[in-house]
């Protein structure tokens, strides 16, 4: 397998990873879109994926859970914005609670500099039986955020207000 190499220099605030998998495009597509397959690889190596829902249509959502070796569950969700079978998936990406509500990264003790809503674009190209997959992960400016992410914002502000009222 060839190691990741960015094809073009990504802009600030954007991550681009390219990999060539020694597998036909159909199989790589399946690994991304079929929950049974996705659960086998989703997450860093010390994690498992005990839950995955995929509603693969524009406007449909996914809800994934990854579990650390200490048993901490981290949920993420997003909405599919574009689906071209075997070629391209564009979806939003946010941290979530187990019911799929968007939460800020701080909910999981992660730093508050992670954007509330990000966008993930995955493309698949056939290379004579191998597959070149390119992933682009970028932060979304506030103006382009979806309603669910805005909702997450207002909920975290509600919590803050509650906390301040008690203090």
């Amino acid at each position: 397998m060839e190691k990741s190499r960015p094809m073009t220099k990504p802009a600030e605030g954007e991550l681009v990873i390219t990999r060539i998998f020694d597998a036909p495009r159909e199989l790589v597509w399946k690994a991304w879109t079929d929950p049974e397959h996705l659960m086998r690889w989703w997450g860093p190596k010390v994690f498992t994926c005990p839950h995955c829902e995929i509603d693969l249509r524009v406007g449909g959502k996914f809800l994934n859970c990854m579990r650390s070796s200490e048993g901490q569950d981290i949920w993420s969700t997003g909405v599919y914005r574009e689906i071209v079978p075997m070629e391209r998936i564009v979806c939003t990406d946010s941290f979530a609670d187990e019911k799929g509500n968007v939460v800020p990264a701080t909910h999981y003790g992660m730093p508050d500099n992670i954007p509330l809503e990000m966008q993930v674009t995955v493309t698949f190209e056939d290379l004579d039986g191998k597959t070149r997959m390119t992933l682009r992960h970028e932060g979304l400016p506030a103006g382009e955020m979806s309603d669910s992410a805005q909702q997450g914002w207002s909920e975290s502000f509600d919590k803050l207000a509650e906390y301040l009222a008690k203090a």
Partner: protein, 115 residues
Amino acid sequence: MPTDLLSNTFAALADPTRRSILERLVYGEASVTELAEPFEMSLPAVSKHLKVLERAGLIERSRQAQWRPCRLQAAPLKDVDEWVERYRSFWEESFDRLDEYLFQLQEEEKTDGEK
């Protein structure tokens, strides 16, 4: 609130002209006229972009000199880098697993075919 500042940073970076302006400033401070040169744009249009960058904390404009040179401020960019790096390891490790899994799947297919 720091997260708001980060949203401002992303909004500022979303525009290709503003990204080019920042790239130019990596090489040192410059006046509005100098920054406008490579673009087919009026000075007021460039000034507007500079205001967005200034609000996001990405540039600083000197109040001392008459020509008010612009200077790059790197701190907000470091914040952006930090989450990008965090995600890089998430994806790289996931894709290592995907690579192994795809290999396994095809091996299973092969042995199934031989049966």
